[in-house]
Amino acid sequence: MTTEVGSASEVKKESDQLGADATKEKPKEAAENQQNQSSDLEEEKDSQSSPSAKSQSSTQRQKRQKDPSESRGISRFIPPWLKKQKSYNLVVAKDGGDKREPTQAVVEEQVLDKEESLPEEERQAKGDAEEAAQRKQQVIKVDIEEEKPSVSSPETQPAEEVRKEEREEEKVKEIQEDKSEEAAKRETKEVQTNELNAEKAVQKATKKTKSVQCKVTLLDGTEYSCDLEKRAKGQVLFDKVCEHLNLLEKDYFGLSFQESPEQKNWLDPAKQIKRQLRNLPWLFTFNVKFYPPDPSQLTEDITRYFLCLQLRQDIASGRLPCSFVTHALLGSYTLQAELGDYDPEEHASHDLSDFQFAPSQTKELEEKVVELHKTHRGLSPAQADSQFLENAKRLSMYGVDLHHAKDSEGVDIKLGVCANGLLIYKDRLRINRFAWPKILKISYKRSNFYIKVRPAELEQFESTIGFKLPNHRAAKRLWKVCVEHHTFYRLVSPEQPPKAKFLTLGSKFRYSGRTQAQTRQASTLIDRPAPHFERTSSKRASRILDGALVGVVDQSLTKDSPGPGEVSAYGRGVVSTAIVQDGDGRRDLRSPTKAPHVHLIEGKKNSLRVEGDNIYVRHSNLMLEDLDKAQEDILKHQASISELKRNFMESTPEPRPNEWEKRRITPLSLQIQGRKGDHLFKDILSMTEKHQMAATRTVEEKAQAADKKRAPESEGPCAGASDAVKSSHETLNVVEEKKQAEVGKDERVITEEMNGKELSPGSGPGDIRKVEPLTQKDSTSLSSESSSSSESEEEDVGEYRPHHRVTEGTIKEEQEEDEEEVEEEPSQASQVVEREAAVPEASPDRHAGASVSAVETVTQEHVVALNIPAEKSVHEGAFKQDVSEDTEDEQHKVNGEVSHVDIDVLPQIICCSEPPVVKTEMVTISDASQRTEISTKEVPIVQTETKTITYESPQIDGGAAGDSGTLLTAQTITSDSVSTTTTTHITKTIKGGISETRIEKRIVITGDTDIDHDQALAQAIREAREQHPDMSVTRVVVHKETELDEGEE
């Protein structure tokens, strides 16, 4: 049986190359699996694939060594590339089989897999045949691969591996010892785990479904269980549950899991469940996530019923405090809904202690409940529920999600996130409130949570208010809840309206569901007979009095309207009027109250303080100017936005079914794509015209130097790398946005480039560019930012600090969830790749590369780009200076830039930085010098594997440094075919009398495993050459993104 052969050989190698550690590990596993022999095999693979992740880094290292010998002339680089691509894989595979490490991370992974494999084992018999087939495939693949590594440099491998192994172990130990930084530690571990997963998955060419049993506690206390594919995303489970519940208006609900007794996390529907749970059991509770401010607007009774159930829980648990009377009243509606009309005989037999009306239920309360119950005679269950909700919704804590925190003085407070904004409580008292329109930015850093609020009436600067959360995860959770609530309640759609596209800046996490506006629209389309459902204990329906129930006027809806009219009536003579209103940002400006307990800091000063002085001192010209403009823009922007919002809040949105359907579909399709697109390749080819001047050579040298320098750094703790990744992602977003702007508005871009200066304020997306000190050509200018961040990050890795990276100005989400959505992965990946390349002495070419990857991010697919790296930048000079400064400052600077953009964007900005999730590898081959740079750094991998290989042509002479030419034209052409999307960006510039045409092609090859990417790439390059016979290819960047299968055996 092929399977056995495969595993046997692996085992053999294992014992050969590994010491006692491995053998120790093995019996243990065997013991654990003895019950089920067939599962033993699976287990084996699990454990073997895990180490392979570890070996990934060593592989990369080897690769660096190997590559020099492998590098060929650029003339041949296309065919070799194909080969190389393969050999790379081989090495990985082989290592995977070769090595095993008993590090903690590995052990964890094993345990995890074991748990998950249990249900699978139960079904083993059924799926056996299928499984066998799959394994066969896999084994075959391994076999093929194993031949080639021996070709490359087999001898060096073991030694390298051993060394690497030791390093890894050290790292783990280091981490374990670092108890003071618990969060960091956790992150690091996660990261490793993910690396393992991802790596394991990479070995599996075929998909196999492995399912896990989930249990979901429903609102009525019953349990729903189902089997899910192990890699299923949260949405899958959620949809199943809603289907089970027959619930259509599901956007108000969510699934949560208990991380610890006091910490409840929402399951992100867009992410894999497994990654969110880590090794927690697959137990969830179905809960209301967004409490509808006006339940009467819900379309279906069944939705209201579930909301009632949630509120009953909230009340009974004390989360929703009520007075005695309200407890009694709500209890009486509960009785009416569940038992029907009061019936003395029947109720005599009812034990009211079965119901929990209040956290502590007294006889007096029960009597009062019964007394009130009698008065509800005639209400149908649905009516009783409605009455229940009408009363419950007015409770001050209705829909308020409380988070414990401390203010800047260490006083215990609670932060309440609700539909309208953020509430600050001390004890039970509300001491401050920040309506969403007033909040400019939400961020967190370590365990601190910050909000930046609009300046009050007489103030000039924004204030940043910081709160201390119990820990990092709590801070992130709060941040996420804020992001979600804001999006749900305040935005029309979760996607950025064109005008507000910068909203995406700096943050990866987004609320991906429908907003309240959308779900309301969707609800209007519900066209089904009211579903029958049984209330928990309703055995009989009470008689319905038609028309007995008078609709309750929803005052919350009209809350924004009364002000102005009334006021104008008074506003004359001695009588002055003011509107006390919460809905609108501009009106809020009139109320500059600060709660005494909250520490207020003036915005700019604060950032200086927090981020270290250097950044603003050094870059003051740049930064401050930008800031000012940014503020102007913000105001304008906000004006329009708040206008929008007000409209939104005040008027019921017109039904636009197609609109929401579309929005609904978009994220879904992305998810799906992520799930099944096992192999995403990003391939970038660059071509340059001959007279073009680019500093490739210099660049290469620098890169090399940097590589050497970086070598030790790459061994730094993973978390360090993770920081880098996070930050770079931030920047990436910026770039992405810009790119979009450019593509969409070539004309403006041109103008801008010609001027060589920033756009005038207020010109929209282009504004961002002013962040950059110098003139650059379109995509180049984009890339400069991203690579600048890269640089700093790069250094940061060496200087690792657990969470250091977030400056106040930029908010990043610190992602402790190990992976991001698939859509996001590529962006991270590509960014990281560029970072690897971008040495401190960042060179123009690198910038170009960065820009490409940014584009890739946008498209989120595979890209082949023909890129003319003619960019040289004044900018570069600036960077070089900076490089000599310490890492921190660099980083600050970068962050600062991002933050500007942030400000520009929207009042509610949400930025975040994420921990490492991506493994990347950068291979640079320069034909001219026959030098090959391979810099690798392992950053924990998550879902995607990204490889970027850059080929640079020798023809490029390095003289480009200095000024940028005058841009003549820029155009972008996009064409699509079945599996590829080609974006051609042509830029013509004049530099020193020489005209230069840069054609940058991005060819995105998307596809499943069936597609031969290599073939497609070769074809793409061929075509590119054919199309531009008079041009030379100067740069080929192949960016490959693979979504890794995991959870397969």
Binding site: P321, R394, K559, Y570, V574, P592, T593
Partner: protein
């Protein structure tokens, strides 16, 4: 609970307490207060009671004056009533504690000079000090006590808007006191509002209607209003009156069907400048009363009477 805002001003009963001679006879003067014309003060008080009973149609309960409690007429400081619940406060001034001490315990006559505003001396050796509590209890309200020794609360630092409470953190009311308000009236948001001037929250603001906050034009008043605007989830219009004291008005809805609610306010004799502005309030019947003499003892409309509904939920 009713519709939001609807609960505001619902009332069937009013409770007042007669003006004792002790209010005018020396204690006030000793504290630097202008001498009080007792007869005038009593006359004002009588007119107020008459308006509550006759003009508004409320059941009026008048507690007899208690000489030991010179500030007894200011019973608005001693209780916060919402719905069926009455929170008996713990006034900051120890001299006034006997007003809320059950059964008169701890009501030993003492000379007080600390407040400077409300200095008084109880004379009677057996004060009937539990009048307010007992009266409210007899009316069927749930009585909630403030047991916490650290809490201080004057009832006139509490503004109920119909949807939420604002508690002024003033010279007389501290955070703990406000917290107990929040604990007592759990259905409602209770926000704290810093009060900068040496007065109670209610002495410069009130409700002119379910959605209208009325405030004086002093800095303290405007500051407080802005604070409330930030803190509230609900939209209120705000009407600014020239005189702070004019904003201390009572929005009352005795519940007669088809009858406009009433706004009991300081009349033109007291505060002529604010009358025109008050006319802007729509949908209320203005009922002017005067209490310029009682004002010298720190009284305002909100402190001179307690209104309540015995059937708040019907």
């Amino acid at each position: 609970m009713g519709t939001p805002g609807e609960g505001l001003g619902r009332c069937s009963h009013a409770l007042i307490r007669g003006v004792p001679e002790s209010l005018a006879s020396g204690e006030g003067a000793g504290a630097g207060l202008p001498a009080l014309d007792l007869a005038k003060a009593q006359r004002e008080h009588g007119v107020l009671g008459g308006k509550l009973r006759q003009r508004l149609g409320l059941q009026l309960l008048e507690l007899p004056p208690e000489e030991s409690l010179p500030l007894g007429p200011l019973l608005g400081d001693t209780a916060v009533i919402q719905g069926d619940t009455a929170l008996i406060t713990r006034p900051w001034s120890p001299a006034r504690r006997p007003e809320v001490t059950p059964g008169g315990a701890g009501g030993h006559p003492r000379l007080q000079g600390r407040s400077g505003v409300r200095m008084s001396r109880a004379r009677s050796s057996r004060p009937k000090v539990d009048g307010v509590r007992k009266a409210l209890q007899d009316l069927g309200l749930r009585i909630v006590e403030m047991a916490d020794e650290n809490a201080t609360l004057d009832g006139t630092d509490v503004l109920f808007t119909g949807r939420e409470f604002f508690v002024g953190l003033s010279k007389w009311t501290n955070h703990r006191g406000a917290e107990i308000v929040a604990d007592t009236f759990r259905d409602f948001a209770v926000s704290t509002v810093p009060v900068s001037s040496p007065c109670h929250l209610r002495s410069f603001c009130g409700m002119g209607g379910p959605r209208t906050v009325v405030a004086g034009s002093s800095d303290a008043a405007q500051k407080a209003v802005r604070a409330m605007a930030v803190l509230t989830d609900h939209p209120y219009a705000s009407l600014t009156l020239p005189d702070d004291a004019a904003a201390d008005c009572l929005f009352l809805r005795p519940g007669l069907p088809g009858v406009l609610p009433f706004l009991l306010h300081r009349g033109g004799g007291d505060l002529p400048n604010s009358q025109e502005a008050l006319q802007k309030l729509s949908d209320v019947t203005l009922v002017p009363v005067s209490c310029s003499e009682l004002e010298k003892a720190g009284a305002g409309l909100s402190s001179l009477c307690l209104v309540l509904s015995t059937r708040p939920h019907s």
